[in-house]
Amino acid sequence: MGSVASQHRVANVKSGEPAAVRIGPGIYQVQDEGRSHIIYVAGSPGDSWAFWNGQVFRSGTKEETPHRAQPARRAAALSLTAPMPATVLKVLVTAGSQVKTGDTVIILEAMKMELPVRTSRDGIVTAVHCREGELVQPDTVLVEVADEVG
């Protein structure tokens, strides 16, 4: 880290705002209110990651919300997706099944762990897009749930 003076870049020179200096590959020293912080940054401007004091920050991509955290709105149909590459272990519903918030509809398996996929709304299963044993990719729609008919 000693001989990088020529590469120093001051990102923000406005007074009162933190000033960041690059001190090595992906390493930045930031002065903020008289205190010095070491922050590690990686990734592209569209998807960048930072590490500071044991915490990770990610910007540029929308953070997926866990399915169960989504509010169960009556208007929109709900698509339940795979959170990561996984094998479909069990399909517990078929088109037409009635489901209640919190019901497990699919069990996935990845890294030897079972991952239940739960519905975050009451309704009726309108479509099942996967079969048991199938390998699914992240964001693949597995099951759709919509309002009850009538």
């Binding site: 590469q7 933190p18 990651w49 990770v56 953070e63 997926e64």
Partner: protein, 502 residues
């Protein structure tokens, strides 16, 4: 002495075994799947042999592929590490028949201790207390339901062939029996290829204390004290330490004596761990009841805390006794000195239900501090795949006292950047900083009970210094063709042009 050792494993443990080989002058041979061709363990070992496709069943779990690899590489011995085939008696047997030294106990000992039912019978005969429980030849849902009713609720349903907490399910109410049995059976089949289930009485809020033992072929058998492993999430250990802050010297005497008796009962050879559930509910800790849980006939993930506190190298000792030489130390030479705590760093996202994470590691720097050891199995630029266990690394801190050790481990984790893939580091920090953990009285239900307090919310608002560093970084990336300047390693992600605008 063995001359050339095939490491039938991957990740941090394969790297760690290769390191012990180098110190002993033993040549190491890495076995690797297609997904691991550029993995750290392959680069660390002296030689490497491909053993098949990414799926573990066709590579790290394939006995014929591994035996072929050992033959092809001219190895005279095999170290199974932990997980995979480490507790598979058929693998140990196949090694013996191929004329290879298996670094572990003999096949019949693995088979006996690997069967919860047989191990239990043996322990009862040896006078070691066991948790009330049973299994039946009839493994139908109804028969297991009746078994659960007989053992009594709350109960624990677990794979008979299992270990490492996989496929274990707790049952508190009759309504939960059917679901627990079916899930446990599926997980048992998937993880161990055997759906036989075992039912036992659940002891609420016990401590998980285990004793490290090691024996040689000359009748010497020693223990290396205990490890406290009660900080578990869904039966997976997260933080382990030695000595246990919850027991007394008198209880330690009883636990270590029972562990040595248990190992003697099977004429144990090589390294193993005797796990106990300790009921610390009463005031008289000296006389606290404890129960034999299981014996792991292999090296444990958490072996480094014992190494730090006892000042020994367990893998080296394993290789020495596997070669037929006597143990390098006797019981009187062994003592616990200071304190050590290990934190397991997993590729999982604590803010999204601990989902395992896969992806490329964009930036990786290990903390370098006195008294801090990092056992890891990957480098910057490594691809963490969905095929294997999400354990990335272990950070082990040691110091004179427990308080100092916690402070040291916190400092190490605060300076351990892993970017490009989510890890549980912030979760580990919240555990280490929790008053209950710091008090030293953590039972096996702690992490579950404190789940809400330890839960993570994704960082959506960024502190000003982070924003400033990110801005400086994107500016640096925009200027240079090789973004952010010089490359850091041959696998440096900065050398890749994908995704960059110039």
């Amino acid at each position: 002495m063995i001359k050339r050792l095939l490491i039938a494993n991957r990740g941090e443990i394969a790297v760690r075994i290769a390191r012990a080989c180098r110190e002993l002058g033993v040549e190491s041979v890495a076995a690797y799947s297609e997904a691991d061709a550029r993995a750290l363990h392959v680069m660390t070992a002296d030689r490497a042999v491909a053993i098949g496709p990414a799926a573990a069943a066709d590579s790290y779990l394939s006995i014929p592929h591994l035996i072929d690899a050992a033959r092809a590489s001219g190895a005279d011995s095999v170290h199974p590490g932990y997980g995979f085939l480490s507790e598979n008696a058929a693998f140990a047997e196949a090694c013996e028949q191929a004329g290879l030294v298996f670094v572990g106990p003999p096949p019949h000992v693995i088979a006996t201790m690997g069967s919860k039912i047989e191990a239990r019978r043996l322990m009862e005969r040896a006078g070691i207390p066991v948790v009330p429980g049973e299994t039946s030849a009839d493994q139908s849902d109804d028969a297991l339901g009746a078994l659960i009713a007989r053992v009594g609720l709350p109960a624990l349903v677990k794979p008979s062939a299992g270990g490492g907490g996989k496929g274990m399910h707790r049952v508190f109410a009759h309504a939960e029996i059917a679901g627990a049995v079916q899930t446990a059976r599926r997980e048992a089949l998937a993880a161990f290829g055997d759906g036989t289930l075992y039912v036992e009485r659940l002891i609420e809020r016990p401590h998980h204390v285990e004793v490290q033992v090691i024996g040689d072929r000359h009748g010497h058998l020693v223990h290396l004290f205990e490890r406290e492993c009660s900080a578990q999430r869904r039966h997976q250990k997260v933080i382990e330490e030695s000595p246990s802050p919850a027991i007394t010297p008198a209880l330690r005497e009883r636990l270590t004596a029972a562990a040595v008796d248990a190992a003697r009962a099977v004429s144990y050879c090589n390294a193993g761990t005797v796990e106990f559930l300790v009921d610390l509910g009463s005031a008289d800790i000296d006389r606290a009841p404890f129960y034999f849980l299981e014996m792991n006939t292999r090296l444990q993930v958490e072996h480094p805390v014992t190494e730090q506190v006892a000042g020994v190298d367990l893998v080296r000792a394993q290789l020495i006794v596997a070669s037929g030489e006597p143990l390098p130390w006797d019981q009187r030479a062994l003592a616990q000195r200071g304190h050590a705590i290990e934190a397991r760093v997993y590729a999982e996202d604590p803010s999204h239900g601990f989902l395992p994470q896969a992806g490329r590691v964009l930036l990786y720097r290990e903390p370098r501090l006195p008294g801090v050891r990092v056992d890891s199995g990957f480098v910057e630029g490594s691809e963490i795949s969905v095929h294997y266990d999400p354990l990335l690394a272990k950070v082990i801190a040691s110091a004179e006292t427990r308080d100092l050790t916690i402070a040291r481990l916190v400092a190490a984790l605060r300076g351990y950047p892993i970017l490009g893939i989510r890890t549980n580091i912030s979760y580990l920090l919240r555990i280490l900083e929790h008053p209950q953990f710091q008090s030293g009285n953590v039972d096996t239900s702690f992490l579950e009970r404190e789940g809400e307090a330890l839960a993570e919310r994704p960082n959506t608002s960024f502190p000003p210094p982070v924003t400033a560093a990110m801005a400086a970084h994107s500016e640096a990336s925009a200027i240079s063709d090789t973004p952010a300047g010089e490359t850091h390693s041959p696998w440096d992600p900065w050398r890749r042009s994908t995704g960059w605008r110039t």
